[in-house]
Amino acid sequence: MRAALRGLTTRGRSFLAAAVAAAVSALILGENDLFRVAALLGVLPLLAAAYVGRARYRMTCRRTLTPHRVPANTDAQIQLRLQNLGKLPTGTLLLEDRLPYALGRRPRLVLERLAAGQATSVTYTVRPEARGRYELGPLLVRITDPFGLCELMRSFPSQDRLTVVPRVTPLPAVRLVGQHGGAGESRARSVAVHGEDDAATRTYRHGDDLRRVHWRSTARTGELMVRREEQPWESRATVLLDARTAAHRGEGPTASFEWAVSATASVAVHLCQAGYQVRLLSHRVDVTAGRNGGEGILLDQLADVRTRPRADLNSLVDQPRRRADRGLLVAVLGALSPGEAELVAGARASGLTCVALLLDTGGWAHLPPAEREQTARDHRTAVATLVESGWRVVDVRHGADIADLWPGVGRGPQGFAWRAALAETVAGGAR
């Protein structure tokens, strides 16, 4: 009751003050009729407080997020499940879930009545604009009286986390060479180019395609054998994200870094789904995802990756070289000075297919002409340096779509197209 009295609204307090004033003047003037008004004004806030504070609400609240991980600009459903543990039905409850402002308007709900022991659930939708990790909650509950004289606020302390991952663009399938990265555990690539005698075969099962019958083995074993698709081939890829603050331009969701993160996510997910074991490298980030469902780990990392002002490019480009695993390296790079370009160029080791998505960051910000010119010059220099040292460079301009650029990865200097064609014939049977 005392808490409820403290919860009197301005209107309630004004009522009490007016009641006192009316009572005093009624006493002075001797007007019984005015005293009636004073009594009404005085008793209403007390009644309201008694109503609001009449019961200690015992309630539980659970929040369910579907999905927990959501790409930016897509909807996430959040379900609140409330249960009244008390012995009294609740009055009208005004619910407001505390959301970070980046998630848009706070959802506001009016729960008219919850009987004793009853549970209810209600769902609302958020549509986050920017990637990140967001704390949902606490849920605020306001209890009000019918006249707006008293209002109590309680909150459920439980909080939940919504991970908003960068937007992933589906990429067209492109054959990439250098995808075979030496021996390792069994990974699927449908390649049967070397030594088909060691091709794994198995007995024919009902439903197998007749065209896959391995006649030679069949002849040898006297039993119908078919080629196995699975081959002990290892496909590894490293996706590298340049997160130096100096290398990127622009602000907020339209910054070049966001484009880089989104591109990194798209490439990583694409490669994951293509069967690669993907290693994501950035400053202080080094995670490796397996083939199945591993992209979640990568996306979680990318959800809250931030540019780092004191990051060192050298240590970053050194990492893929240091590990023994080779294969494919896709680097998403911001602006490179000529020196940094040399550094990156030198990071290419033999046996490593290096692809650079090099952002021309001048397009992401309004720059003075001189600086713009400088940026463009540096960009051209970097492209030249990388290409010379054997990188396949995709020149990224502002407004470009990663899905459009991705096929460019398959082309490039040094006969890449030819090697891709070779890979195509190698893998041809599988398609």
Partner: protein, 788 residues
């Protein structure tokens, strides 16, 4: 948007409800019609303004325009365009009406008739209140502020009527205000967010909120408290009234407690009128009646006497016992008929009333001032009869009166502003008087013609600024001056005195009927003697007035025996002194105490006890209602009419058993068979022996009634039920038993179900009505695109 529409409509309705207290002021209901028109016009203008999306500051302008149109239509000058558009003539007419208000106020007493000026002022005021309420509640979204203009309406009757405003108009106004408050807050809650119910289903915005039901309950409790609290603190006398009685009169020393009439001015005005008109006729069986009285003035200020606000209880109740008088008393009756010319709110009567007949409870009797008065109505044209005690004082008896004790409550009537000339005169006159009576007599005789005092309706020139000194020096004046001066002198001598107003016996009488005119109005002095009460002394020369009385204890100081037109004392009282038996024969002091306690009780006994009793009875009836309903139901079930089929009787007995179980916290399970219920009952209540058998019989009867093709008549279900009930009640706690009798859960459950059912029926009716309306909608006649 719909929310704002709704609030606008509710604001208008609340304004209209808030005008309810005005019903106490007007005699007819014309004002209500005009208020409805005005408020409706304002609300319509506000709605139109919102529909046109006028900017918020222009809202009041639109509503004021609506008000102007409504006033133009209601109070036309005949020169309007199309009846509605005001012209300069209209405004001039409004000005005239406004200018006529003070005159109308002066001309009418509450409740007032339909005076165009007053109606215009009230319509204008209500319209302005409607404008402010709409601006506050809808424009500013602060409906709490709307209470202030509504309170302003309420304060008008509160200020005008000193006897207070009835409870009902207050309740109506308060309900309107609370409605507005709740509607606004519910609208806020509704707009807060998506609404959903406990089962997770969404609730459409228009559906009523359960909060509204809570609001109704809280409002009922709040209003009950608001009505009850002032009743618990009755007889509120304002501190102002207590501290400074001169204030309400407006400082001129001429105010009166009823706030309506300056008695002195009234008196001199009536006496100075050229025309003579009849004011009343009085018929009495008293052969030698004293003056008729209608008021006293006992508060003294430096400028003179003013009446004390009278207090009393309705004359229809038992009148308080009379003040003690040890002289011989006679009981007489008198009948008054007042004419249309009589305009005072006080009914003339004789002193020491015993009984009043023919007056309604609006008339109150003040036992202290011994006057009959009303706070509401004037005595114009009424007729009534009184029965009163006529005391006869003798000089010897009065001489034996004890001196006034120091702490006697009548000491208040000895206060007088010290005026040096007066103090000196009194000291000189009473130098050789021993008793209080002798002192009074000495002062009384000072006003004789021998001393140069002359009766004149034209008073002498004011020279000193103090009226009494002027009169004592000029020695020229009429009854008012004589009476006030004598009272002042007597008070200065330390003896309680006051001025009484009334009528002489007049010069026109026939047998025992006296016809009194405005010329017969009179004022005289009353002096208080312990043990005798108020004894009249008329210092005005009897020769100067028609119908003066020259009593034994206060003989005309001029000594002459004028041609008095009083009946000769020869017709001595024919009636035996009736009151001697019950007249106080105790010591005067004791009688005094009785009188004072009587006065004190009369002070606090406004109509409240009666109301309180009625309220208590009502409350008791309300409290008893569930129990009584249960009892009646039980009786009907246990003693069914003889022609009821056996099956119905068994069902009734069974229903009674189930209700009994509910009452004693053993709720039946609707899925159980009668046999299962009985088994559970026996198990839970640990019934044994006869009780268990009784329960078994009831169950069996119900079983047979349900399943048998022709059930046998049940034996004595009443006795069985009684057995089971007693067995259930015995182990139950005291509170459970009391609840089962006073507030049976089964009755509550039945009432709740009935309420829900009727609410459902009403809702269904409304829905059907809506469907019907939809079916009759003219839109259906239009070719609908999707039907093709």
């Amino acid at each position: 948007m719909t929310g704002r529409w709704r609030i606008g409509v509710i604001a208008a309705a609340a304004t209209l409800l808030a005008t309810a207290p005005l019903s106490a002021i007007f005699d007819s209901w014309t004002w209500l019609f005009q208020a409805t028109v005005v408020v409706g016009a304002v609300a319509a203008a506000a709605a139109a303004g919102r529909a046109l999306r006028l900017p918020a500051p222009l809202g009041p302008v639109a509503t004021a325009a609506g008000l102007l149109l409504a006033l133009t239509w209601l109070f036309p000058s005949g020169q309007e365009f199309l009846l509605l558009l005001p012209t300069p003539d209209t405004l001039a007419r409004f000005g005239d009406l406004l200018a006529g208000t003070p005159a109308a106020l002066a001309a009418h007493a509450v409740p007032v008739a339909d005076d165009p000026s007053l109606l215009f002022v009230s319509a204008l005021g209500i319209g302005l209140v409607a404008v402010v309420v709409d601006t506050c509640a809808v424009g500013m979204r602060q409906p709490a502020l709307a209470g202030l203009p509504m309170l302003a309406i309420y304060s008008v009757p509160v200020a005008v009527r000193s006897d207070g405003v009835a409870i009902l108009p207050f309740l109506i106004g308060a309900i309107g205000y609370l409605w507005l408050l709740a509607a606004d807050n519910l609208d806020r809650v509704r707009r807060f967010g998506r609404r959903f119910a406990g089962d997770g289903s969404a609730i459409p915005a228009w559906q009523p909120s359960p909060l509204a039901a809570v609001g109704r309950r809280l409002a009922v409790v709040g209003l009950a408290v608001a009505v009850a609290v002032p009743l618990a603190a009755p007889g509120m006398t304002g501190l102002i009234d207590r501290w400074d009685p001169a204030l309400p009169g407006g400082g001129a020393g001429a105010g009166s407690g009823t706030g309506e009439v300056n008695l002195f001015a009234e008196l001199s005005g009536q006496l100075n009128q050229d025309a003579t008109h009849e004011l009343l006729r009085v018929t009495t069986d008293d052969p030698d009646p004293f003056y008729l009285r209608f008021a006293t003035a006992s508060e003294i200020t430096s400028t003179g006497f003013i009446p004390r606000p009278p207090q009393g209880s309705p004359v229809t109740g038992a009148l308080p016992p009379r003040q003690g008088s040890s002289g011989p008393t006679y009981r007489h009756t008198a009948t008054m008929e007042l004419t249309e010319q009589y305009q005072l709110a006080m009914a003339p009567s004789y002193a020491e009333l015993a009984e009043v007949n023919g007056l309604d409870p609006q008339w109150l009797y003040d036992p202290d001032q011994q006057i009959v008065f009303s706070n509401r109505i004037r005595a114009t044209g009424i007729a009534y009869s009184v029965s009163y005690h006529r005391s006869d004082f003798s000089a010897e008896a009065l001489r034996s009166a004890r001196p006034l004790p120091e702490n006697h409550p009548r000491r208040i009537d000895t206060e007088a502003p010290p005026v040096p000339e007066v103090v000196d005169l009194v000291a000189e006159l009473t130098a050789d008087a021993d008793t209080a009576y002798d002192q009074v007599l000495a002062l009384f005789t000072h006003f004789s013609v021998d001393n140069g005092f002359r009766y004149s309706l034209q008073t002498g020139p004011e020279t000193t600024g103090v009226a009494i000194v002027d009169f004592l020096e000029n020695k020229e004046g009429y009854c008012v001056q004589y009476a006030a001066a004598l009272a002042w002198l007597v008070r200065t001598a330390g003896i309680p005195a006051r001025v009484a107003f009334g009528f002489t016996r007049g010069s026109n009488y026939l047998d025992d009927t006296y016809v009194l005119t405005n010329r017969n109005m009179h004022a005289w002095t009353e002096v208080y003697f312990p043990g005798f009460g108020w004894v009249p002394f008329d210092a005005t020369p009897t020769t100067a007035i028609a119908g003066g009385v020259d009593p034994d204890w206060a003989p005309d100081p001029d000594g002459s025996d004028p041609e008095r037109d009083t009946p000769s004392p020869a017709d001595e009282p024919t009636e035996a002194p009736t009151d001697h038996a019950d007249a106080p024969t105790e010591s005067p002091d004791f009688a005094e105490d009785g009188a004072i306690s009587g006065t004190a009780s009369a002070d606090g006994s406004s109509p409240l006890p009666g109301l309180a009793v009625i309220g208590l009875l009502l409350a008791a009836a309300l409290l008893a209602a569930p129990g009584v309903s249960r009892l009646r139901l039980r009786r009907r079930r246990c003693l069914p009419p003889a022609d009821l089929p056996a099956r119905q009787r068994a069902h009734a007995a069974w229903a009674e058993l189930l209700d009994t179980m509910i009452d004693y916290d053993l709720p039946p399970d609707p899925t159980e068979t009668p046999r299962g219920t009985v088994a559970r009952l026996v198990r839970h209540a640990r019934l044994t022996g006869a009780e268990a058998e009784a329960a078994g019989r009831l169950g069996a009867a119900e079983e047979q009634a349900q399943y048998a093709p022709a059930p046998p008549a049940p034996g004595h279900p009443g006795a069985d039920l009684r057995l089971v009930r007693l067995a259930l009640a015995q182990p139950a706690g005291r509170s459970t038993r009391a609840r089962a009798i006073l507030l049976p859960p089964s009755t509550r459950r039945r009432w709740r179900d009935q309420l829900a059912a009727s609410a459902g029926r009403i809702r269904q009716l409304l829905t059907e009505g809506g469907l019907l309306l939809g079916r009759m909608s003219p839109r259906r006649l239009l070719p609908a695109g999707r039907e093709k």
